[in-house]
């Protein structure tokens, strides 16, 4: 789905990403993981053009991300995006947040309603909370609204940046279960950023471990554990043990 070729990114004096080449497979969930400041969020934002690489190029479905603003907007409509805290528009209700883009594209009302109903089932979002503003929703509900908003246009890809970052453990646990169910039902390509290895293992097939702007190792958790690329991989895994849940492939 995504291929990065020799991509690097610098913010002022900070080399956020060293030139790297990476392929993110279609139809599976890839987790970008690593300590804070390792460049995982930057990498995610390169995928939908929120950030532009200094060198190299990003291919989406085999085509480079377009330079032209209009064409880039069209790509973004096929790439759902949700970030920590939800990034909801505080002046719009839950429904308005979810349907904003569909309305902008002048979808017929019936189609909007149908799609929204489907997403509410999928995310198990209570109907009565739809008319509330983000300020009136709980953290977990906000995240579900953000997820519905990202999925509204039925995109090919879902990009999630620390989607469960700011939630308390119980809500987080519920949402982790729901997210896994959603990913399985949709079968979409998902790229998810987290710093929690347990969450990565629970949600993802493929793990990309990063450190200081470089990819250290890409593979399943078993790969990382059995055949670590260097000592950092082992240290990173051990730092997060014991894992609260069993490992999933």
């Amino acid at each position: 789905m995504f291929t990065l070729e020799g991509v690097s990114k610098r913010f002022g004096d900070l080399q956020a990403l060293h030139p790297l080449t990476l392929t993110l497979p279609t139809g599976t969930t890839t987790v970008l993981i690593g300590p804070s400041g390792c460049g995982k969020s930057t990498l995610l934002r390169l995928l939908n053009g929120l950030a532009r690489p200094d060198t190299g190029r990003v291919l989406f479905n085999g085509h480079p991300l377009p330079e032209a603003p209009d064409a880039l907007l069209a790509v973004r409509q096929r790439v759902g995006y949700a970030l920590q805290g939800g990034g909801l528009f505080p002046h719009l209700t839950g429904t308005q947040n979810v349907t904003l883009m569909a309305r902008h594209l002048r979808w017929p009302e019936a189609r909007i309603r149908e799609r929204q109903g489907l997403l509410m089932d999928l995310t198990r979002f209570p109907a009565e909370a739809l008319e509330r503003y983000p300020g009136q929703l709980s953290g977990g509900q906000r995240q579900r609204v953000a997820l519905m908003r990202a999925l509204m246009l039925d995109p090919d890809v879902l990009l999630l940046d620390e989607p469960l970052g700011a939630l308390d453990p119980l809500v987080r646990h519920d949402l982790q279960s729901d997210l896994r169910a959603i990913f399985e039902r949709l079968g979409k390509t998902v790229v998810l950023v987290t710093h929690d290895l347990a969450e990565a293992a629970w949600l993802g097939h493929d793990i990309v471990l990063m450190r200081e702007g470089r990819v250290v190792q890409q593979g399943t958790l078993d790969d990382l554990e059995a055949r670590p690329a260097d000592a950092f991989v082992t240290r990173f895994i051990q730092a997060q043990r014991p894992l609260p849940v069993g490992r999933a492939g």
Partner: protein, 499 residues
């Protein structure tokens, strides 16, 4: 809100358009300066012209010589009372015009003419309280040399003009250093309270007798003659010959003593200038003129309409320009610095200076006032728009971008609604400041609540000052409340939850 504004504007425009009723006679526009004598003379000219069938209007109490001079040259006024000394020393300063003939010649080049003297010389003089002068033994201006510690307050105009304080100080070698500039009408009160010991006077001031003042002898004949004349546009002779001929009958009709009495009637007995002028015309020219008096309610209503017009038009124009500028400032920070810098500089220009600067460009009346108010309103709106947009959290901004919303839709659907509270607060600030500043519009003939304030200060009439100041304060509160209500209606509910 914009629609409501347009409606209010339409009503105001309609209302002011209705006032101009078409008539038969030629139009004669009379002006006067913002002191009583000038207003009385302006009133006389207006009434005489009206009696000949002309459509005469009187723009009273305009703020200073330059304002009237420019308006006359631009053809926005036809005639106003002036003094030969002012013409020679101020308007033609540096031309060294020896006599009235030379003055007439210089005026002719501007397309202007001057009547013969109205009969009195209203020159500058220095005055002290009689008792104070007696105590210090001051009779002549040269006696002041022995009293360098005197507390001196001069009218702002006297401080600055060529024949004013600087020239007087040099001519007599006066040592006073503690010299304050203030409004002429406040100076008398300063003398009365003892805050001032010496001030400048006009030789026909009503207060000379009333406050018990001693006029110091100008023993070196420093002050030039200030013969009162009427200054008019040359084309008036062809446009309104009848009215002009009648008006020129005022030449030689007044003496200094007579003028002091007329001034006293208006200033001290509070008889309206129109009435004073009318009584004089009847007694000396045998002319019966109509004096129309306006009831308090209709007067306040007229001032309110004028004031709302100034505030409404300038504010709407400012909103229309300042919000886009604020968006630009938020999008392009470096350009934003320039925009904010420029609007801050405008803010530092004193209101009166800005008004006077506008006159050569826009003339007198509501136009220069609206332009000045418009400029003053820009900064709060630009700054709050930029701040409101800049305060949107990055994750919200990024979410909008990631959704694939085009920039224009992001602005209208996300950024402007989220910045709405800040933008409205900016407009509210601009509006409230505007209501206050608009009172200065009266100085350039824009009317409004400033008119009774000006008259009140001139006549030392607290009632009249309040007639302008109280409605102005009430209007400011109402405007503020209006914007609170607008904010409740316009600011999205989701944004108010956080407060």
């Amino acid at each position: 809100m914009t629609r409501l504004g347009a409606l209010v504007l339409g009503v105001l425009l309609g209302a002011s358009a209705c006032e101009r009723t078409p008539g038969e006679g030629p139009v004669v526009r009379v002006g006067s300066k913002k002191f009583t004598e000038s207003v009385i003379l302006g009133e006389m000219v207006t009434q005489v012209a009206k009696a000949t069938g002309a459509q005469a209007t009187h723009r009273r109490e305009l703020g200073g010589t330059t304002v009237l001079w420019e308006a006359l040259r631009r053809g926005e006024l036809d005639v106003y009372p002036e003094y030969t000394g002012t013409l020679r020393q101020e308007l033609f300063a540096g031309r060294a015009l020896k006599d009235d003939a030379a003055l007439r010649e210089a005026l002719e080049q501007e397309g202007l003419r001057m009547s013969a003297s109205l009969g009195f010389n209203d020159t500058y003089a220095l005055g002290m309280k009689e008792s104070e002068a007696e105590r210090l033994g001051i009779r002549r201006i040269s006696d002041l040399k022995q009293h360098p510690e005197l507390r001196v307050g001069f009218s702002n105009e006297f401080m600055e003009r060529g024949d004013g304080w600087p020239a007087l100080r040099d001519a007599y070698g006066l040592p006073q250093t503690e010299v304050r500039g203030l409004d002429h009408d406040l100076a008398y009160r300063g003398l009365e309270s003892g805050a001032l010991q010496l001030t400048d006077l006009y030789s026909t001031d009503a207060e000379i007798a009333a406050y018990g003042l001693r006029v110091l002898e100008d023993d070196r004949r420093h002050f030039p003659a200030y013969d009162a004349v009427l200054l008019y546009r040359a084309d008036l002779e062809t446009r309104a010959p009848l009215a002009l001929r009648a008006v020129r009958k005022l030449e030689g009709s007044l003496t200094e003593a007579r003028m002091v009495k007329l001034n006293a009637r208006a200033r001290l007995e509070r008889v309206p200038e129109a009435q004073v002028a009318s009584d004089f015309l009847k007694a000396s020219l045998g002319l019966t003129t109509e004096v129309r008096t306006q009831g308090t309610v209709s007067r306040v209503w007229q001032r309110t309409r004028e004031h709302l017009f100034l505030v409404g038009v300038s504010l709407l124009a400012a909103i229309a320009l300042a919000i886009p500028l604020g968006v630009l400032a938020a999008r392009r920070p470096r350009l934003g610095q320039v925009v904010l810098g420029l609007s801050s500089i405008i803010q530092t220009v004193p209101s009166l200076a800005l008004l006077v600067v506008m006159i050569p460009l826009l003339g007198i009346g509501s136009k220069p006032a609206i332009a000045a108010l418009f400029l003053y309103s820009l900064l709060p709106i630009v700054r709050n728009t930029a701040a409101g947009l800049g305060g949107i959290p990055w994750e919200v901004r990024e979410s909008a971008e990631a959704l694939g919303l085009p920039p224009r839709a992001r602005l209208w659907r996300i950024e402007l609604p989220m910045a709405a509270p800040s933008i409205l607060a900016g407009i509210q600030t601009a509006a409230v400041i505007n209501v206050g500043t608009a009172t200065l519009g009266a100085l350039v003939g824009a009317g409004g609540y400033g008119q009774p304030i000006l008259t009140g200060i001139r006549l030392d009439d607290v009632g009249l000052i309040l007639e302008g100041a109280v409605p102005s304060a009430v209007l400011a509160l109402l405007v503020s409340a209006l914007f609170e209500a607008v904010a409740r209606a316009v600011v999205p509910r989701g944004l108010r939850l956080r407060e």
